[in-house]
């Protein structure tokens, strides 16, 4: 992966460094913890172990185990506790090791965190961040490989962030921590080693602003998280056959930057939406409908969606590999839409 691929238009270039996505997340957490003593981290093996993905390495040494807290394997319990703590003066960042385990915290997030502010007539606030993972192809089988961000995106009262580059991850996570309301932050576990430019000076990225990762005139590829790199790869292949693909990353599924997505498709008149969650009732469905409604008269063809195959993720490598969208799949779909043989 070259730096160019992941650099965004918004990144200032004077004093850039290269960080991995994992390092960018750690840096965001460390900066926010230095800045705000109310921020505490909580989760399984987050302290000395620095999580199973080693993303938090070094934070317990700097901030102590009073602020970087190992929990029992009690996802529902510590999430509920974090919600209460968020309501009463702290800003917890909870770590749910694998995105699949959000099933265990669903009541706390969907019925408690998401609703407290509204139900209390705007009196209580829940400034909570939940960090978790998504993404397949790690050969981890059906209970450790899902991309379930659509579940949270469905619920009024939760914001959902899906960074695709180190730059975005850092800026978005800082905004999430400063947000007054619950935010769920999904990291692709296969992208922690992805490198990208990060400015030395502080920055944040607002939630709800899509980013154009590559511009083009012939087709819009809307891609999230792990699928942004796939879309960029496909765009390169399309370039070779004379198709200019625009790759746009919403960065948050909620709030959703409808305007930018619609603008892009008005320009290109064709769109494919790619997301690693299941397409059925998934993020791609919502985004495609936003585009269909907002750019209907500009569309050359129906919006196409590409997501994970509708199967529990299998363990065996030759099976798992066919469940995830690939550059080739996106390329083929785009080529067809653009009438190129």
């Amino acid at each position: 992966m070259s730096t160019l691929d992941v650099k965004t238009a918004m990144a200032p270039s004077a004093t850039e460094r290269e960080l991995t996505l994992g390092e960018a997340i750690r840096e965001a957490l460390a900066e926010e913890m230095r800045r705000d003593p109310r921020v505490v981290l909580m989760g399984e093996d987050v302290a000395e172990a620095g999580t199973v993905f080693k993303v938090l390495t070094g934070l317990s040494a700097e901030f102590g185990t009073d602020r970087v807290i190992d929990t029992p394997i009690s996802e529902a319990g510590f999430t509920g506790l974090a919600i209460g703590a968020a309501m009463t003066g702290l800003r917890p960042v909870v770590d749910i090791m694998f995105g699949d385990f959000i099933a265990l915290v669903m009541d706390q997030m969907a019925n408690q965190a998401a609703k407290v502010h509204y139900m209390s007539g705007g009196k209580w606030k829940v400034p909570l961040v939940m960090r978790t993972t998504l993404g397949a192809t790690r050969r981890s089988a059906a209970q450790h490989s899902q991309s379930l961000h659509a579940w949270f995106s469905h619920v009024p009262g939760l914001k959902v962030v899906l960074p695709s580059t180190p730059y975005d991850a850092k800026g978005l996570l800082k905004s999430a921590i400063r947000d007054e309301n619950p935010v769920v932050f999904f990291e692709d576990k296969m992208m922690y080693k992805l490198k990208g430019a990060i400015p030395a000076e502080e920055y944040t990225i607002p939630l709800g602003v899509a980013d154009i990762k590559r511009s083009g005139d012939d087709i819009t590829l809307v891609a999230t998280s792990s699928m942004v790199q796939v879309a960029l790869g496909a765009a390169k292949m399309l370039q070779e056959i004379g198709v200019g693909a625009e790759v746009i990353d919403p960065r948050t599924t909620w709030p959703l930057d409808e305007e930018r997505l619609i603008e892009s498709v008005k320009k290109t008149s064709r769109a494919i939406v790619i997301d690693e969650g299941y397409a059925r009732y998934g993020a791609t469905a919502e985004i495609a409908s936003v585009i269909a409604e907002g750019a209907f008269h500009y569309l050359d063809q129906p919006v196409k969606r590409i997501g994970a195959m509708h199967v529990p993720i299998p363990f065996s490598p030759p099976l798992e590999d066919v469940t995830v969208p690939t550059e080739q799949m996106v390329f083929e779909a785009a080529r067809k839409m653009c009438g190129k043989s």
């Binding site: 929990t71 394997i73 065996s316």
Partner: protein, 334 residues
């Protein structure tokens, strides 16, 4: 680690079951060698995913499963190879599953953490910590409702004590007198955290609070595990309700094969102490020899036989084909 009396002094030989004991020895050795091979396959990058080894904990799976009938049920965990083997799985199809091959127990769909096999009563290994507490309790509910005399065993690590589901199901099990045995394998660590940092109070007091019969067992002493399991399994079969066994043990290796630098959470001396003083296979073989149930030579012959069975199983799995990618949609009904 609490100081325990040597197994040899503690229990007299039971003349009634020499064959059973030799079979138990063989099973423990099978699990040990199976796991050594998993380690080898994994480090040679021949096995995808993650591998959580059961080495050091063999006496629990074998002691418990030796007290079960073939049609009794078990549920297992991410560290489940030992449970599956002890319940009767064959190593060749186990290895095939671990390598993602079509000949595997789940046609490659499950892998190491999801071995399931109705023929041996294995309801499935589970990669969600505590995730099978409901399934095991439900199997016990069926057994009672259908009157088929079966018992269900729910294996889990002490990490699962953190999961609320366990307490909801234990309450149900005692309320409805279900034939389920909750087997907590306390191997001392939840991943990289000592269980004392995640577990408040007295563990046995938890099931006892529901009125569930609860016992603490030396998980390195296969005869003690077996004797206790026999008693609670028969009690459950007789309609007298569930039991909870807390088995003290130790995982010799990393949380998974890749967990090699462990000094930040546990010392080499601690590991050494368990391996040299509390090894379940060593303790049991010493006892068998001391009580003249086997000679060292006989045990060595058995080891060699086990080794060649396991080696053949590895070869079988390595040579077996992967499933056709088209199989990915087989068994998807919705």
């Amino acid at each position: 680690m609490t100081k325990q009396k040597s197994v040899i002094e503690k229990t007299p030989a039971s003349a009634a079951e020499p064959d059973k004991y030799l079979r138990m020895y063989q099973q423990m050795m099978s699990i040990r060698i199976f796991e050594e091979q998993v380690n080898d396959l994994y480090t040679r990058a021949l096995m995808p995913g993650l591998a959580h080894l059961y080495i050091g904990e063999e006496a629990i799976a074998v002691g418990i499963c030796s007290a079960l009938r073939p049609d009794d049920y078990i549920t297992s965990t991410h560290r489940g190879h030992g449970h599956c083997l002890a319940k009767g799985a064959s190593p060749d199809r186990m290895f095939a599953e671990l390598l993602g091959k079509e000949a595997g127990y789940c046609r490659g769909k499950g892998g190491s953490m999801h071995i399931a096999d109705p023929a041996t009563g294995n309801l499935g290994a589970n990669a969600i910590v505590g995730g099978s507490a409901g399934i095991a309790t439900g199997a016990a509910f069926s057994a009672k409702r259908l009157g088929n005399g079966r018992v269900a065993v729910c294996f889990f690590g002490e990490g699962a004590l953190g999961q609320g589901l366990l307490y909801e199901t234990m309450n149900l099990a005692q309320l409805w007198k279900l034939p389920v045995i909750y087997v907590c394998e306390n191997n001392t660590y939840n991943e990289y955290t000592h269980y004392s940092e995640t577990t408040a109070g007295d563990v046995l007091a938890r099931p006892k609070a529901f009125g569930i019969q609860a016992e603490r067992v030396d998980g390195q002493d296969v005869r003690a595990v077996y004797a206790t399991a026999n008693a609670v399994v028969e009690r459950a079969r007789g309609g007298n309700g569930p039991a909870f066994l807390l088995c003290d043990t130790y995982r010799y290796r990393g949380h998974h094969v890749g967990d090699v630098s462990r000094e930040y959470y546990r010392s080499k001396q601690e590991e050494q102490k368990w391996v040299s003083e509390r090894d379940p296979i060593k303790l049991f073989s010493d006892w068998l020899i001391a009580h003249k149930l086997a000679t060292a030579g006989q045990l060595q012959t058995m080891n060699a036989e086990v080794k060649s069975t396991i080696d053949a199983a590895v070869q079988f799995a390595l040579n077996a084909p992967y499933p056709d990618p088209l199989e990915v949609q087989q068994d998807v009904y919705a």
